[in-house]
């Protein structure tokens, strides 16, 4: 009997829903949960918390209470409702700016890495030029010159994060171009179009996905900064940045106005950084990044 059970135990039990070891990444999962929570807040937050973010229907400068969990602002608007609206604004601006950078950066990086030569020279010099400015300063100047609106903030942020996108995509394309399968498919007579979409693009999706998450956090942080400086979303529309700017005048009397919007920014930025870090571990261990130097042993 004993030998039988020993043998029986020696065979591992079949487990259902086995998560591959590399997907068990606590930082990435924490990031995904935070990001999912914020997206959910933006999508259905105002269905659950039905206060109007633009209606002054309470006393001004109230502290947190059951009726107003995050308090009220300087003209009696509900801060929680405004933070929920701010989540929508942040994600929308962040998504648009990141989409601009994703498309423009991938196209530019692909052209430079695929055609090399003069095209590469041209694209690389333009990228270098953007890198010659501190990113935030460039965003401030572009948004300031174009005029302080939501659309212009998206354009300004899109431009400054296109450059790092293009640079990384170019490097990745150059690496893929060195592999023999590119040469063989060309030798077989594949067109540029086919080589790019069938062979190069599928091989550079990993760094692109990682970059998207990391620069999403940068885009949101930049939007908050621009709105804080009065160059992004304009009051009375609620954005986390301009809520903090208003709160400055009430820093002595109503600290809640400063605490909640800032915490919201920090949480979403932390979430996307964590997510990007986890995705990098899983998809693309070669690329270093923002949180890499901080979280790795």
């Amino acid at each position: 009997m004993s030998t039988l059970t020993e043998t029986w135990k020696a065979v591992p039990r079949r487990r259902f829903l086995v998560v591959p070891a590399k997907w068990r990444n606590p930082i990435g999962i924490a990031g995904a949960i935070i990001v999912a929570f914020v997206i959910l807040t933006a999508l259905i937050g105002n269905l659950i918390w039905t206060n109007d973010p633009n209606l002054s229907n309470a006393d001004r400068l109230l502290g947190p209470s059951w009726a107003h969990p995050f308090g009220t602002d300087e003209i009696g608007r509900d801060s929680l409702a405004r933070i929920i609206h701010g989540a929508q604004v942040s994600l929308q601006v962040g998504a648009t700016a990141t989409a601009i950078a994703l498309v423009a950066g991938t196209v530019l990086g692909m052209l430079a890495g695929y055609y090399k030569g003069i095209v590469d020279q041209l694209v690389s010099r333009v990228i270098d030029l953007v890198f010659a400015f501190p990113g935030l300063v460039l965003a401030i100047v572009i948004a300031g010159l174009l005029g302080p609106t939501r659309r212009n903030a998206m354009i300004a942020i899109g431009i400054i994060i296109t450059a790092p996108f293009a640079r990384v995509v170019r490097a990745a394309v150059l690496e893929v171009m060195g592999f023999p399968f590119i040469e063989s498919s060309r030798a077989l007579g594949a067109s540029d179009f086919r080589v790019i979409f069938r062979h190069v693009l599928p091989n550079i999706t990993a760094p692109i996905i990682v970059l998207t998450s990391v620069y999403f956090s940068q885009a949101i942080l930049s939007e908050a900064t621009l709105s804080y400086l009065g160059l992004g979303i304009q009051p009375p529309e609620a954005a986390w940045g301009n809520m903090l700017a208003t709160a400055r005048q009430y820093v002595g009397t109503s600290i809640w106005m400063s605490i909640f919007p800032g915490a919201a920014i920090m949480i979403i930025v932390l979430g996307f950084n964590f997510l990007g870090d986890g995705l990098r571990d899983i998809l693309d261990p070669r690329v270093g990044g923002v949180t890499d130097a901080v979280t790795k042993k």
């Binding site: 010099r125 270098d128 030029l129 010659a132 400015f133 501190p134 990113g135 935030l136 300063v137 401030i140 100047v141 572009i142 300031g144 010159l145 174009l146 956090s217 942080l221 908050a224 900064t225 804080y228 400086l229 009065g230 160059l231 903090l244 709160a247 400055r248 820093v251 002595g252 600290i255 400063s258 605490i259 800032g262 920014i265 920090m266 930025v269 932390l270 950084n273 923002v290 949180t291 130097a293 901080v294 979280t295 790795k296 042993k297």
Partner: protein, 318 residues
């Protein structure tokens, strides 16, 4: 090394030229018709008045003429033109503001290194201890917290706990060093946190690497005191890559400074840039942006050169 030096300097000058052209074009192409913005609603304005404003703004004649005129005056006379709003020479405005930004950045980098070096060393030496986890958590928060919010939190903290607010009007370091320090320490602290986090983690990684090298073990084995080995043998070598990272961070501190100067009402270069933007003072926007970008480019080139000096492989490979 000489070819490396010359190549880097030529690249720097080319970049500065390209940057100045970019700023010049941005101000002209992104704003729409400056004249109609300025004279908006002013029906009585004559063409002579408009031409005069064009001349004051440096937007008369062809772009080539405008650019050479603008860049030539800056290059050969140090003359950035006059502020459109106040008529004050811009070189004077910059002269009054550049040391404020410089003080902020120097203080920021000093604070960052002052905390980052001990934290990085402790974190590496006492690996996986409570102190290590604390330091790493600080690093994680440091890269995600918005600088301008941290500044607000600091003000809330001191006003609630000590019932004290930083002075609202700028005090120069020569008139009252202490008051000047209390005014600069918060903005400097809030821009330094990101750099602190990056440098600390970098140092932790390099220290861990160096501590495992043979010569450190040899030094310990022959009886050199632990503290001496840590500081003289390990830290010195671990600091080389950290120096270059800290150098590049100076560039990013300039961007951070632009934001906190506005919050803390410090009339530095960034403060003037944002003020110029809100006032539509185009010559001042051009000048402040050019100054910030030029310092950024020059600092990055210097860091590159220092790195080449410290690590000969870089300059040879180039």
């Amino acid at each position: 090394m000489t070819t490396f030096l010359i190549r880097r300097l030529i690249a720097m000058i080319a970049t500065l030229f390209a940057v100045s052209v970019t700023i010049f074009l941005m101000v002209r192409l992104m704003t729409g018709d400056i004249i109609s913005i300025i004279f908006f609603g002013d029906e009585a304005a004559t063409d002579e008045q408009k031409d005069l404003v064009r001349k004051q703004l440096g937007i008369d004649g062809s772009y080539f003429h405008q650019y050479t005129h603008w860049a030539g005056r800056i290059l050969f006379h140090g003359d950035f033109g006059n502020s459109f709003q106040t008529g004050q020479p811009i070189s004077e405005i910059l002269g009054h503001s550049i040391h404020i930004t410089a003080e902020l950045i120097v203080l920021g980098i000093v604070i960052a290194l002052l905390f980052a070096i001990p934290l990085g060393v402790i974190s590496a030496v006492k690996r996986d201890s409570a102190a290590d986890y604390g330091a790493r958590l600080t690093g994680l928060i440091g890269i995600s917290i918005p600088g301008f919010w941290l500044a607000t939190l600091l003000i809330i903290f001191t006003s609630q706990v000590f019932n004290w607010l930083p002075p609202l009007l700028y005090v120069s370091i020569t008139t009252d060093p202490w008051k000047n320090f209390t005014q600069f320490v918060f903005p400097a602290l809030s821009i330094s946190v990101f750099t602190l986090a990056i440098v600390m983690r970098m140092l932790r990684a390099t220290m861990l690497e160096v501590l495992n090298l043979d010569y450190v073990r040899t030094a310990r084995a022959k009886g050199v005191p632990r503290r001496t080995v840590l500081i003289k043998h390990a830290l010195r070598n671990a600091l080389i890559p950290v120096v270059t990272v800290a150098g590049f961070e100076v560039g990013y501190l300039i961007a951070g400074a632009a934001v906190v100067e506005t919050i803390f009402n410090l009339p530095g270069v960034g403060f003037n840039l944002l003020h110029a933007i809100s006032q539509r003072d185009y010559p001042l926007i051009e000048a402040t942006t050019l100054l910030i970008a030029a310092v950024f480019v020059i600092v990055n080139t210097l860091v590159d050169l220092v790195y080449g000096l410290l690590d000969p492989r870089i300059s040879v490979a180039d």
